[in-house]
């Protein structure tokens, strides 16, 4: 079995399991919708000022929603001892990382596909079709960074005593730069109508973030998964 086939098999397994149980996706989606409703009442500032908060609200919500999913990344494997079997297979650890990251990415994208339209109706309230490609680029690049870094840290925290307590403590400070860039880019695109030209610096930064942490994870994943 080549690396690509292994990757496809692992990803298929994770997606199939999620489609059969739907436990992660449903709770992530409900969390996102609830957070948006709470934000509306928490920031009672009127439509004009609200526009400046759109990016921040969106990314705070997504980062916390991703945490829910990340905590489930290895939950089944650990509880049912599937991980031991997986690690006994002649699979490169990096392939496991790639498959887990891809699965998390798919979950986040599915959540966003449902949440972004709702968010737009609730908070943006203006036509941003012209900025949609730039906004989608921000989403994709930020999601990739969040999922790659998150999967690496979820792998570490699953082998510690307080699994889901540790992950946010490690993950959130590391992801601060990404949240800064993504939320300011989102606000610029949705509230100010900025296109690719004005967002170039931020998009480049997000791409750089992704690249750096993909390389870092590639180099350290063997140690992170341990055993």
């Amino acid at each position: 079995m080549g690396a690509a086939a292994q990757f496809a098999a692992l990803l298929h397994k994770d997606l199939l399991r999620e489609l059969r149980t739907r436990e992660t996706l449903v709770s992530m989606l409900l969390f996102v919708l609830l957070a948006l409703v709470i934000f509306h009442y928490a920031f009672d500032v009127g439509a004009g000022s609200l526009a400046r908060l759109t990016g921040g609200m969106l990314w705070v919500t997504f980062v916390f929603a991703v945490l829910l999913g990340l905590n489930r990344t290895f939950a089944q494997e650990k509880d049912e001892h599937c991980l031991d079997g997986l690690l006994l297979c002649p699979v490169d650890r990096v392939v496991i990382f790639a498959a887990k990251t891809a699965a998390n990415l798919v979950f986040v994208l599915l959540i966003q596909a449902a949440a972004v339209p709702v968010f737009s109706v609730f908070f943006v309230q203006r036509d941003y079709l012209g900025q949609l490609p730039a906004f989608l680029a921000v989403l994709l690049l930020a999601d990739l960074g969040i999922c790659a870094l998150g999967t690496l840290l979820a792998t570490i925290s699953m082998s510690t005593r307080a699994r889901d307590l540790l992950l946010p403590v490690l993950f959130l400070p590391l992801v601060v730069p990404l949240v800064i860039a993504a939320s300011s880019a989102t606000t610029m695109a949705l509230a100010e109508g900025a296109g690719f030209g004005r967002l170039a610096g931020r998009l480049l930064f997000l791409a750089g973030f992704d690249l750096v942490f993909l390389v870092a994870a590639w180099g350290t994943y063997d140690y992170a998964i341990g055993e």
Partner: protein, 229 residues
């Protein structure tokens, strides 16, 4: 004196004391009062900036130790890693403290969301997580491995965080050392470099002292365990 004796913890700390005292004297009596609006409050710069750079050096040492540990696991690399992160965290807290004092004197506020100070705040939170991680893994080797992976990822994140804070609205912090030169007068630069050398020596002395202490602590724990058997 031999190099070995010169690089022992007491010698390094004594040297650091000398340099830091000289730096203090130079800062107050040799370097001129800053011509900008900051005036006399600029004197804290001779402590604030060297502490900041020393904190980053400490995290750099932890990064190197982490890479060394993953390449060839040995307890001494793990010890060096813990000690460097602990000292780096301590220096980072001092950066924020001196930065806040300076901020209050120069700008009238204790805290401005300024790129460099914000970076150190995030760095403090980041490396605090390092100790939470260590405390949650019982098995020694696994603890050291995870800590090393995290130290590598965290160190990579520091410049990225600094860069990202530039996307925030402009801050008040003076950019003293830029690619265009140091922007400091000769006498100021000398005072700064003496403080800088003192602070770096202090870090080196503390690292030596603390790693030895860690080693002794482990031996005591080991002996205790053997006695109980």
């Amino acid at each position: 004196m031999s190099v070995r004796r010169l690089s022992s913890a007491p010698a390094l700390l004594a040297l650091a004391g000398g340099f830091l005292a000289a730096g203090l004297l130079l800062a107050f009596w040799y370097a001129p009062v800053d011509a900008s609006a900051m005036g006399f409050s600029q004197k804290i710069f001779y402590y604030h900036a060297p502490i900041a750079e020393t904190a980053l050096v400490a995290f750099g040492v932890a990064f190197v130790a982490a890479v060394a540990y993953l390449r060839a696991p040995a307890a001494r690399w793990d010890r060096l890693g813990v000690v460097s992160v602990r000292l780096g965290l301590l220096f980072s807290l001092l950066v924020m403290l001196t930065g806040m004092i300076w901020g209050k004197a120069a700008w009238g506020v204790w805290w401005a969301w300024e790129p460099r100070l914000t970076t150190f705040l995030v760095v403090c939170l980041l490396y605090a997580g390092y100790f939470v991680l260590r405390s949650l893994v019982d098995e020694e080797q696994r603890r050291a491995t995870f800590a090393a992976v995290f130290a590598i990822v965290a160190f990579v994140d520091v410049p990225i965080t600094f860069f990202a804070t530039r996307f925030l609205p402009e801050g008040l912090h003076p950019a003293v050392i830029t690619t265009g030169g140091t922007g400091m007068e000769g006498s100021m630069f000398l005072s700064f470099m003496v403080s800088m050398a003192g602070m770096t020596l202090l870090l080196a002395g503390l690292i030596r002292h603390e790693t030895r202490l860690e080693e002794l602590r482990e031996r005591v724990a080991d002996l205790k365990a053997r006695l109980e058997r």
